[in-house]
């Protein structure tokens, strides 16, 4: 009986918490401050620890109305926010942040039904605030993710609020159930709901690179890759990872670049060679605006206040 209800093997490491489940293995790193390894069916899905993301590459309208100037501290927060706390809960028991010698009481045969680990990130904004990313590994091996942003009076409006996954190699494409085309909260009326396949990791070739590729109101996205960085991996079959909505639809972009890489380029050809997949899963997206490009603000309904709490959830399945 035990084996049918407690599928998760928990490895209490000295710098990590390992969780092995059906066809999956997760390593949560105390040193890296987050989920360091996400293996599904033997394939690694993470190149670096997922981090909260706040910035979007300045759009022409952002430049024109001074939004990026006003909200510039979120660029720093996007780059330099860091983990300040870890909290672990196994089968509804709070374990705090257990390290040796406390963990000497465990063995190589620790089993659980549910493992939860929360990482709290402190932003580099002034004033500071916290974002807590809580991972829950469920008994069937799937991963639940909740991102909670603590509202902080005095902070400028957020360009975006999401969790950014950087995958080791470029995706061959992605499939999603949501809205057609590139959408933003104030530009999604014309989109058609459906299931769409996108080949590769297209960057919308705006004359000057900027925020692009957002998909609002998404139920699920499945990223498919063909290659890994594992030198022993000779398997040539495609493999996939899915992000699926839990309580509410989410937004995402699946690009080869971070906001900072896009921000740094004046032309499409200045963007670096495509080496990674950058999957941003967003709980809040600022509108793009459109009245003019030299001062008009995005309509108020499409701003993201940094002064109030935000929370969003999704799950990851292999």
């Amino acid at each position: 009986m035990a084996n049918t209800t407690t599928n998760l093997r928990v490895i209490f490491g000295d710098g990590t918490l390992g969780v092995a489940g059906p066809a999956c293995h997760y390593i949560f790193s105390y040193e890296r401050g987050g989920l360091e390894s996400l293996v599904q069916h033997g394939k690694e899905w993470l190149y670096r620890t997922p981090m909260p993301t706040f910035w979007r590459a300045t759009t022409d309208n952002d430049r024109g109305n001074g939004f990026s100037q006003d909200s510039a501290m979120w660029l720093g927060a996007d780059l330099f926010s860091h983990c300040v706390a870890v909290a672990i809960n196994v089968d509804d028991q709070d374990l705090g942040w257990p390290i040796a010698p406390e963990t000497n009481r465990f063995s190589n045969h620790e089993w659980a039904e549910k493992v939860q680990i929360a990482f709290t990130y402190q932003t580099t904004t002034v004033p500071k605030t916290n974002v807590t990313v809580t991972y829950q590994v469920f008994n069937d091996g799937h991963l639940g993710v909740t991102v909670h942003y603590d509202g902080q009076p005095g902070l400028p409006e957020l360009p975006a609020l999401g969790l950014r996954f950087i995958m080791p190699t470029p995706a061959v494409g992605f499939d999603y159930t949501g809205l057609s085309g590139e959408t933003y909260p104030d530009r999604m009326a014309g989109a058609v709901a459906g299931t769409y396949h996108v080949v590769g990791l297209p960057v919308t070739p705006y004359l000057r690179p900027q925020e692009n590729g957002m998909h609002m109101a998404t139920e699920a996205v499945t990223v498919t890759r063909h290659t890994t960085l594992n030198n022993t991996d000779v398997d040539a079959t495609d493999f996939s990872l899915s992000v699926v909505q839990t309580t509410a639809p989410f937004a995402f972009s699946c690009l080869p670049y971070t906001a900072e890489q896009l921000e740094a380029a004046d032309h499409i050809e200045e963007l670096p060679a495509v080496r990674r997949t950058v999957l941003g899963v967003y709980g809040a997206v600022r509108g793009v605006g459109g009245i003019d490009s030299w001062g008009a603000d995005v309509e108020p309904a499409y701003h993201i206040s940094a002064e109030v709490d935000h929370e969003f959830s999704f799950e990851i399945r292999g």
């Binding site: 022409d60 085309g181 490009s293 995005v298």
Partner: protein, 629 residues
């Protein structure tokens, strides 16, 4: 007449030896030629021309137009095309400020003082480049023994013309056709036509559109032969009775001076070939047909761009056909009713775009294929209207819009942005044309060129006085001109918003650009005098076009809100070969060491410069599909 280089400096000299602007009809020798779409009265001069470049007038090859001038060392250049894109002259993009910003101090002649003649401003400039074009040609057999003219569809910005060493004329107004009579000097064989093109003249003050600043012969050049009786101008007056059931047609022709004895006959048929009107008159300098009544007339509109087929047949005294002129036209009734623009009794909603002519390889020297592609994009995305920002487009575009049912705002080639707005602030101290008499004729002539060439197109609903030129007596006169010559269309001008003193005399519509939905409501809530349209809105620079709902929602709230034209249709960017990767990449202002520049500000289209749609297009398709009339 001897040409003078000082004409470049004098706003009062803008055309010398040109033929009057006339309708854009084409004459054929026979119905069979019409079927084939090729007229043996036409000889194209497009293709290779000899070319020499000089960076300023002082260094230009004086006398190059003489037939025996040694042009062996000349380069070869393609006509049509821009001198800059052949890498002779520097590519430069700038938006509102004049292109000499930071390089030359200039004030337009006569504006600050009557004593300020502008002498030497352009003719003695050290950075006003010159293109010397020459082409040797034989007159094709079918053109010989006729009167022969040459038509330049677009030359930027000032041109002098010689044939076989004889000076023929001078023209400005870069985006209008300039036509010259070559008959006195033309030979059957071994002609040398020569054109000296100056990048800047006083016309530069009038052509400050937000665009790459090019020069050269950038549209087609052709010879036309005209028989002893020739239709110079065709004016089709088609109106519809208030009950929308009956059309009235009157046709006025201007023939050549002293036409030979003969006849001109007219037929008008519907698309089933049924005769609607038929008449014949003796050939005289002016010929008038009609009034014809067309019962149960089928009206032209976006959803049913129905056109009747007019055909003129010119015969000599023996009854032999000299020329045949086909022209498809429409009946539609466009009017203000209770301050609302009504087309054929329906409230007009403009689902429009502003469209610069653009091709990423060819600049503004766009191709027929580009135009066909653009109309296909319009159709797919419920775009029903186009503003020809901010100059007359290539002539075939108007006929294509007639055929496609696209409502046109036909703009006069005029923008003097740098003369009245600096760093965003209204500062009209040296505005042209303003009320400056020395600039009057040149500016009014641009309106005449626009009207006379395009007057027969049902697609044109608005004559636009131009763009962003502030307002003064000259623009008020231009408005009066359009009203005087044409009662079937409305006038449009946004710039009067900047100078309300002229509100009663300029523009039949309240036009604004980039106005907020709140301010539009405020206007419409406060006893508005004129219907409202956005001549430019939804600035689609980069990743934009958010919030369109707030504009579209006004359509149901306010009958006098009648839509507008998105800025704009296509990014202006140029393909170059990347220095690093060797790939073809799109570049923008400042990428050619060009300064002062406005960089990527021309990247504000619904389409990328390579005619791929931006993601925002689905939003346009959706909203424009809701009120597609």
């Amino acid at each position: 007449m001897e040409p003078s280089i000082n004409w470049l400096d004098d706003p009062q000299v803008f055309r010398v030896g040109t033929l009057p602007a006339h309708s854009d009809h084409r004459a054929y020798r026979s119905g069979e030629e019409i079927e084939r779409g090729v007229s043996s009265y036409i000889q194209s001069l497009d293709g290779d021309w000899q070319f020499q470049y000089a960076k300023n007038p002082a260094e230009r090859p004086v006398g190059f137009f003489e037939p025996d001038y040694d042009r062996d060392h000349f380069f070869t250049i393609q006509v049509p095309g821009h001198i800059e894109l052949e890498n002779f002259s520097q590519i430069h993009y700038i938006n509102t400020l004049y292109p000499w910003e930071g390089k030359v101090y200039r004030r337009p002649a006569y504006v600050l003082s009557d004593a300020d003649t502008g002498a030497g401003m352009f003719s003695a400039a050290d950075n006003n480049c010159v293109g010397a074009y020459a082409k040797r040609f034989d007159l094709e057999e079918p053109l010989r023994n006729n009167r022969v003219t040459v038509q330049f569809d677009g030359v930027e910005q000032a041109m002098y013309l010689w044939l076989n060493g004889h000076f023929v004329g001078y023209a400005e107004d870069s985006f209008s056709q300039s036509e010259f009579d070559l008959t006195p000097y033309i030979q059957d064989t071994d002609n040398v036509i020569a054109v000296e093109v100056f990048k800047q003249s006083t016309a530069a003050f009038l052509e400050d559109q937000d665009m790459f600043r090019f020069s050269g012969i950038f549209r087609s050049v052709r010879l036309t032969a005209q028989p002893e009786i020739h239709v110079n101008d065709l004016a089709i007056h088609s109106t519809v009775t208030a009950d929308l059931t009956t059309g009235h047609l009157a046709v006025t022709l201007q023939l050549n001076d002293h036409p030979a004895a003969g006849t001109v006959s007219l037929t008008v048929t519907d698309d089933q070939g049924e005769m609607v009107a038929e008449a014949s008159e003796k050939a005289t300098e002016q010929v008038h047909f009609g009034d014809f009544e067309v019962a149960n007339v089928r009206l032209w509109c976006h959803s049913d761009p129905y056109r009747y087929h007019l055909q003129l047949t010119v015969r000599d005294a023996d009854g032999a056909v000299l020329e045949v002129v086909p022209y498809d036209f429409g009946f539609r009734r466009f009017e203000l009713v209770d301050k609302v623009m009504m087309l054929n009794g329906q409230r007009l909603i403009l689902n429009g775009v502003n469209r610069h002519e653009w091709n990423p390889d060819r600049g503004r020297a766009i191709t027929q294929a580009d135009m066909v592609a653009d109309l296909q994009v319009f159709k797919e995305n419920n775009i029903n209207a186009v503003r020809t920002c901010h100059y007359p487009d290539q002539i075939p575009w108007y006929t294509m819009c007639d055929e496609a049912g696209i409502y046109m705002m036909a703009e006069t080639n005029l923008e003097t942005h740098g003369s009245w707005q600096k760093m965003g602030a209204v500062e009209p101290s040296y505005n042209v044309p303003g009320s400056v008499s020395q600039w009057r004729d040149a500016v009014l002539d641009r309106a005449k060129n626009n009207y006379e060439v395009f007057k027969n197109h049902p697609s044109i609903l608005f004559w636009s006085l131009g763009n962003e030129s502030y307002a003064g007596e000259v623009l008020a006169e231009m408005n009066a001109y359009y009203k005087r010559v044409d009662s079937t269309r409305l006038t449009h001008y946004e710039g009067v918003y900047r100078n309300r003193a002229y509100a009663d005399r300029i523009s039949d519509v309240e036009s604004r650009m980039y106005e907020t939905p709140e301010n539009i409501k405020a206007y419409l809530d406060d006893h508005p005098e004129k219907p409202f349209l956005n001549c430019e809105y939804m600035h689609d620079m980069g990743n934009s076009l958010g919030g369109m709902a707030s504009y579209v929602n006004l359509i149901n709230q306010y009958p006098m809100y009648q839509g507008g034209f998105i800025w704009d249709y296509i990014d202006q960017a140029l393909y170059v070969t990347d220095e690093v990767t060797g790939n073809r990449v799109l570049r923008y202002g400042g990428d050619f060491d060009d300064r002062h520049s406005d960089y990527d500000f021309s990247g504000d289209g619904l389409m990328f410069a390579n005619r791929q749609p931006k993601p925002a297009m689905q939003e346009v398709r959706y909203y424009y599909g809701q009120y597609n009339n």
